[in-house]
């Protein structure tokens, strides 16, 4: 299972676009093509982006990719911008203010340059397939248990550089093991969950649609996923008496729907759509994000495979 990433592509050159499209298709990238006046709209509509690909030549509306890069950077500073150079001039000749805005440049005649940028900024963080698949299965089971007679569709896992929060509601719980330390975040829309409660799609009373009950649903899903992920993949880390583990502040800006874990590392995101028995109800979107901001040593992950073997399947009674 390949982990993908979503990138905005704004480029008016048909030949370059064809090369870029072919590159995206073979490099696990999902391209979102935009036009001049839609770049900001696309940024606002997507909270799970990996990067932005621009060109230094004017687009069909005569707007330079350099100007667009400055606008993108002003709105989403965390997104890496890769600028396609159309001339052979060295990057050193780029204006100073644009050098601060972009993460790197590439030429259409040498896609290895773009490949190196993608590897460095998006796929530098390796996520073991067994872990990603396991998380997905555990979460699907937790969602199906929480939402009666539901079925869950899971999109391809992606890595994002975005730090935006989806929906009004999110839960945050720490993950701590010998090989990773960080957080799991689950985000959703309050109104979508409330509607499913109202139509009898949960174990709550149909009248229990206020935000506290919606919170309790998300809390239970989070708890179930966390417990099972922890049991299956994460040996508790042994803390020596008196040794305090490092922490970093988590900054949340409600007005800007922005959350920072103090790292710019790409984050693993899984998206689920929960379809209830009531066909006329919109599915619930669940976005699950993993941020290993305090420790990420996936090379030690394999050592924990015994845990997977010892793992008791959920729902079974183990006699003590």
């Amino acid at each position: 299972m390949a982990i993908k990433s979503k990138v905005i592509v704004h480029d008016s050159d048909p030949d370059a676009l064809a090369r870029i499209k072919a590159f995206l298709d073979t490099n696990n990238l999902i391209g979102l093509r935009t036009h001049t006046w839609e770049v900001v709209k696309t940024l606002n509509e997507n909270v799970d982006l990996g990067a932005v690909l621009l060109s230094d030549s004017p687009d069909a509306n005569g707007v330079s990719g350099i100007d667009i890069a400055k606008r993108v950077h002003a709105i989403r500073r965390e997104l890496p911008i890769f600028l396609r150079r159309t001339s052979k001039t060295a990057d050193d000749n780029l204006p100073g203010d644009i050098k601060d805005v972009i993460s790197g440049t590439y030429s259409i005649t040498d896609m290895n340059e773009l490949s190196a940028l993608i590897e460095r900024y998006l796929f530098a963080q390796y996520y073991p397939e067994k872990l990603v698949t396991g998380i997905q299965e555990i979460t699907e089971e937790a969602l199906q248990s929480t939402f009666k007679s539901s079925h869950v569709m899971t999109e391809t896992p992606i890595v994002v550089r975005d730090q935006f929060i989806y929906g009004e509601l999110f839960s945050l719980i720490s993950l701590d093991s010998d090989w990773c330390r960080g957080y799991m975040m689950i985000q959703t829309d309050e109104s979508a969950v409330a509607e499913v409660i109202r139509t009898g799609g949960t174990w709550l009373e149909r009248t229990q649609t206020d935000f506290r009950h919606v919170n309790s649903i998300l809390s239970e899903v989070t708890n179930m996923v966390w417990g099972n992920v922890k049991s299956k993949f994460m040996r508790a880390s042994e803390t020596k008496e008196g040794v305090t583990k490092a922490q970093v502040p988590i900054i949340i800006n409600h007005a800007r729907r922005f959350v920072s874990f103090g790292t710019t590392n790409p984050q693993l995101v899984l998206r689920y759509q929960v379809f209830g028995a009531q066909k006329q109800i919109e599915p619930i979107s669940i976005i699950q994000k993993f941020i290993f901001n305090l420790n990420w040593s996936p090379e030690k992950f394999n050592e924990d495979e015994k845990l997977v073997d010892d793992y008791l399947s959920s729902g079974e009674l183990e006699l003590l």
């Binding site: 248990s145 708890n223 417990g227 922890k230 508790a236 729902g315 009674l317 183990e318």
Partner: protein, 121 residues
């Protein structure tokens, strides 16, 4: 009539388990945490089995299990943990407190109904 006490701070889990048991002809009571569960056990001798979460506010499920034996002196009531926890040290603590079984959430009623029926006789 033998009763089962379902203890969980999550209304979702309480309702899910209760609904399943009731639909299988088993009488059910619920409690929102370990302290509430202990109070209900003190006042109702018909409870034969407790199905409880571990992590709950006010009093966790393992502490409640220990108090059922030590404070209530009740050794006849069976206890099953229904939890996201799967730590062997916690299970050992549960075993020491007389916990009979351990279920990792999510709850799958059909998989455990037979065992539950045996425990309540």
């Amino acid at each position: 009539m033998a009763q089962i006490l379902v203890v969980d701070d999550s209304a979702t889990v309480r309702n899910e388990v209760s609904e399943f048991l009731s639909s299988n002809g088993i009488a059910v009571q619920t409690a929102v945490d370990g302290k509430d569960g202990l109070d209900k056990l003190k006042s109702d001798a018909t409870i034969k089995l407790v199905i409880t979460d571990v992590n709950m506010p006010n009093m966790d499920g393992l502490t409640m299990a220990e108090k059922i034996r030590s404070e209530l002196g009740n050794s006849s009531v069976n206890i099953i943990m229904l939890t996201t926890e799967n730590d062997p040290r916690m299970k050992q603590r549960g075993k020491d407190a007389g916990v009979k079984g351990w279920i990792v959430k999510p709850f799958k009623g059909d998989a455990v109904l037979g065992s539950i029926q045996k425990l309540i006789g």
